[in-house]
Symmetry: C2
Subunit: 151 residues, 2 copies
């Protein structure tokens, strides 16, 4: 695809998503940044980890919290290749993530612009700045190829 | 309080909630059962674990999945002292929990009968059987005492 390259955090998230696909996991990847530094990178891994909560965002949040020694990731940004689900969106609030950047929209499982639209709920106690569509084509293509190969 | 005793899983969840309070964590406890056997018991521990996702339900689900060697807890029941938040409610769907029993309602943070009411959302892909109010008085009293002592 011609044009400008993707921002480095989304490129790293897409690389993590590709690793997930190689391991037979739904290809989603996430990266947590503090300023220009990567704090954590994670691939979706519920099967490998035998953990239904091991979505890329949750694994990244847990790793970043461990790395920073705090259960609050204030000032950190989360980059993820796919629109977060309700579990991950609410975890993003609990973690006090400052900015959320996601790639492809997820009509079926997404909870930011679809379903409960978590960050618009009156009981949502922390809403990050939201940015979407960055890397959406690459992220969507990875997912389509993954599911096409399993049919 | 006169009357009948609480079911053993809710008594165990309340014991876990008391342990959380002793450690300075918001007193919530959870237990996962398969039939009459306890698979996992967990206390709310985001501060101690430095993990914003370490609500009692998530810690219990992760421990049960590890114990059973699967990311799906089909046929398992979750007992928790407080109405689950959006993160935990969606994790309960991901884990395919069969029955959810919770104690006190949580108007502010709950996502079962409050806020997004996750299990009524069209994008909710798995809805457990729901039972509430069991142990609500004891669970609510623990929370009230905890927050009163911190004011």
């Amino acid at each position: 695809m011609p044009g400008f390259p993707l921002p480095p955090p989304m490129r790293a998230a897409l690389d993590a998503a590709r690793l997930a696909a190689d391991r037979g996991e739904v290809p989603v990847g996430a990266v947590i940044m503090r300023g220009n530094a990567i704090v954590a990178t994670a691939a979706n891994a519920p099967r490998e980890r035998r953990d239904p909560t091991a979505h890329a965002e949750i694994v990244a949040i847990r790793a970043a919290a461990r790395a920073l020694g705090s259960d609050r990731l204030e000032g950190c940004d989360l980059w993820v290749t796919l629109e977060p689900c309700a579990m991950c969106a609410a975890a993003i609030s609990h973690a006090r993530i400052a900015r959320l950047y996601y790639g492809a929209s997820d009509e079926k499982g997404g909870a930011v612009e679809h379903g409960p639209r978590w960050f618009t709920q009156p009981t949502c106690h922390h809403r990050p700045e939201l940015y979407s569509g960055i890397g959406a084509m690459a992220a969507g293509e990875l997912l389509r190829r993954f599911f096409a190969a399993r049919r």
